[in-house]
């Protein structure tokens, strides 16, 4: 689909997915208070990155694939995964997307092209390149979307993979969601380009690749930028590195604690650690979800009543997912021993 053809319906679709992600993530977060103990381990939310995720995946078509990190709720939701199965997975239940074996960090929905995630920073980047090799061999113009964080670009896996992807002209789009932080480290504290005031897309030069930076809070800008990269990849002209600038609106993840300590989401690190409340509040003012709602309403694409109705419908959908997940039984104990081997 070219940028021109982004009709009203499609714009509403984008907004709908953004809102579904936001609602899902807020509901996940509320689980920590509403149903303590139901979510375990480490959960990472995508709130703030919705425009980037949906703007990118609006180019996804049958045969394409997407891979991501532990911060993975947004992608399958956009690709059509059932939020009931997703929530059940986050709650560790038998009806979970991954039968309760993977949890929040490892959502996978192969039927919808969401091939998997790795919880190890950077490790999923070569996986995406491998899937792109498979796509290249199929010769149907399929593309692989590879999502990862700014921090991941400091792993060797990023470097090694982009070089090969460029050499082999793999049909992949590398979307770096630069949310300004790796946990409690700012990008400028850990990245030499950032420290020098340069965009992270400069790194593409080390691989003779196009590198572009886009405002990841604007779904239409992401749509256009990623769209060009996708076209390039489908045409066999190789991969692109897209730096998509977002701001995560929650902390990195829930607190890290041994069993027995109730988990919760702390305040965002900008406030809790750096005391930069203004930074966080500026991000909140630029919150992509209400902003895009405003754009659509101002543009006459959506009425405010329609938007409210949509929000209510989505709230219901996600509420249903929670009820479903809470009712879903735990997996049978022996199922813990299945699936190690095919």
């Amino acid at each position: 689909m070219s940028v021109q053809s982004l009709n009203a319906e499609r714009q509403v679709w984008i907004y709908t997915q953004m809102l579904r992600i936001r609602t899902f993530e807020e509901r996940v977060k509320r689980t920590f208070t509403d149903h303590p103990g139901v979510i375990r381990g480490h959960t990472h939310l995508a709130d703030g990155a919705e425009a980037s995720i949906v703007g990118s995946l609006s180019h996804f078509r049958e045969g394409d694939a997407a891979l991501a990190t532990y911060r993975c709720h947004g992608y399958p939701l956009t690709l059509g995964s059932d939020p009931k199965a997703m929530m059940a997975e986050v709650y560790g239940r038998a009806d979970g997307l991954c039968k309760g074996l993977g949890g929040s960090m490892h959502l996978t929905d192969v039927k919808r092209g969401f091939l998997g995630t790795s919880g190890i920073v950077g490790a999923g980047i070569p996986h995406a390149a491998g899937a792109a090799w498979a796509a290249q061999l199929r010769k149907r113009g399929d593309v692989v979307f590879c999502f990862f964080g700014d921090g991941a670009s400091k792993q060797g896996a990023f470097h090694e993979t982009l070089n090969i992807a460029s050499l082999w002209k793999l049909p992949a789009v590398f979307v770096m969601e630069n949310n300004g932080y790796n946990v409690v480290t700012t990008t400028a504290q850990e990245d030499a380009n950032a420290a020098a005031g340069e965009p992270l897309s400069v790194k593409a030069k080390a691989y003779a690749l196009p590198g572009v930076t886009v405002d990841g809070t604007d779904p239409l800008a992401v749509y256009r930028t990623v769209g060009e990269a996708v076209e390039r990849a489908r045409a066999g002209r190789g991969p692109t590195l897209v730096e998509s600038k977002v701001y995560r609106l929650s902390a990195h993840g829930n607190i890290i604690a041994p069993p027995g300590v109730p988990l919760h989401y702390p305040e965002h690190e900008a406030i809790a650690v750096f005391g930069k409340r203004e930074e966080y509040e500026a991000a909140l003012r630029g919150d992509p979800v209400p902003r895009f709602r405003g754009t659509l309403i101002l543009g006459g694409v959506l009425t405010s009543a329609q938007a409210d109705e949509l929000a209510a419908r989505i709230a219901g959908e996600i509420e249903e997912a929670v009820s479903f997940a809470l009712k879903s039984p735990f997996p049978k104990l022996e199922s813990a021993l299945e699936y190690n081997y095919a």
Partner: protein
């Protein structure tokens, strides 16, 4: 003596050595990103630094800094993150001295948590001690108490060799009495955590409290178990274990790792050679089930060794 959590005791061990020796560095991801950080405030940015998510460079830098005379402590958070840099851990740090014919030494500490089995699922929960224990030149500490955490960390920093210091994540907040002031726990000295005459139980890390719990249960039935915590698995204090087996003739080895990737296998093999004459029953290993760790709570509990399984193991060797 002061009561403090395991995690605070580790910090105390690092402080003890950083105060004492200006050559000790401490660095890693997500530490010291503001001036409030305790170590940064105390020792300054020359010795305390945040790193990018670059384990290969982090550990490699530690190797080079150690070769150049410093004593780096690398904060790695989770043992699995060493896997992306495994070459530096097992094929660089412990080899440089040897290959140089003894010209360099490589004193460094790789501090990493492990065994975080509380919903961290498949990639963050491993018990990897056995991956490191057999590498000549490398030492491996696995403290199970706050006091050992402090004392072994301090000894690790003072050691002139590379040390993998594995703290158990599930013990993070466990309180324990920790000696004040300079405190060192020697490497290669097992701790007999409970003396007993009927059976020897060997366990490390989070399995130690499980083993002690099992011993308590067994005591009610009149079974007197000895519980040994090796504290370091390289060097491994076989003498203490052999002495115990000489007395009891029966052994249960407990390991949170999967069976074929366990320290318990290595101990069993040593006992099968050097303790054979004393053995009056098969050596039972109580390990994790042979599986990646599942996310869901009941499944996770199902695949891990627990008190009941240790008790059952003891019953088997007493049959």
């Amino acid at each position: 003596m002061a009561l403090m959590p395991y995690i605070a005791a580790i910090d105390a061990g690092i402080h003890q050595e950083m105060r004492r020796d200006p050559k000790v560095l401490y660095f890693g991801q997500n530490l010291a990103t503001t001036e409030n950080h305790a170590f940064l405030a105390a020792y300054g940015p020359e010795r305390v630094r945040v790193t990018p998510i670059s384990e290969t460079a982090e550990i490699g830098i530690a190797v080079g800094a150690a070769m150049a005379g410093l004593r780096p402590v690398v904060e790695l958070y989770m043992a699995e993150f060493m896997l992306v840099a495994m070459d530096q851990v097992v094929n660089e740090a412990p080899r440089m001295r040897y290959m140089s014919g003894g010209q360099v030494k490589v004193p460094l500490v790789l501090k990493a948590g492990y065994g975080f089995t509380c919903g961290w699922a498949g990639q963050h929960t491993g018990t990897l001690s056995a991956l490191f224990m057999g590498v000549p030149g490398l030492k491996v500490a696995v403290p199970a108490t706050a006091a050992d955490a402090k004392g072994l960390m301090a000894s690790a920093i003072r050691d002139d060799n590379p040390v993998v210091f594995l703290h158990h994540y599930l013990l993070t907040l466990e309180q324990g009495e920790v000696p004040d002031g300079e405190y060192l726990v020697p490497f290669g000295k097992a701790d007999v955590r409970r003396a007993g005459a009927d059976v020897t139980i060997v366990a490390t890390g989070w399995m130690v409290p499980r083993a002690l719990g099992a011993a308590q249960q067994l005591a009610k039935e009149g079974i007197d178990a000895e519980v040994i915590d090796p504290r370091t698995v390289a060097p491994l204090d076989l003498d203490t274990i052999l002495k115990s087996v000489d007395k009891t003739g029966r052994v249960v080895l407990v390991d949170q790792a999967t069976r074929h990737a366990s320290v318990s296998s290595v101990i069993a093999a040593e006992l099968a050679e050097h303790g054979f004459r004393a053995l009056r029953a098969p050596i039972i290993q109580v390990t994790a089930a042979d599986t990646t760790i599942p996310y869901s709570e009941p499944l996770e509990a199902y695949v891990l060794p627990d008190e009941a399984r240790i008790v059952a193991g003891v019953r088997t060797v007493l049959k």
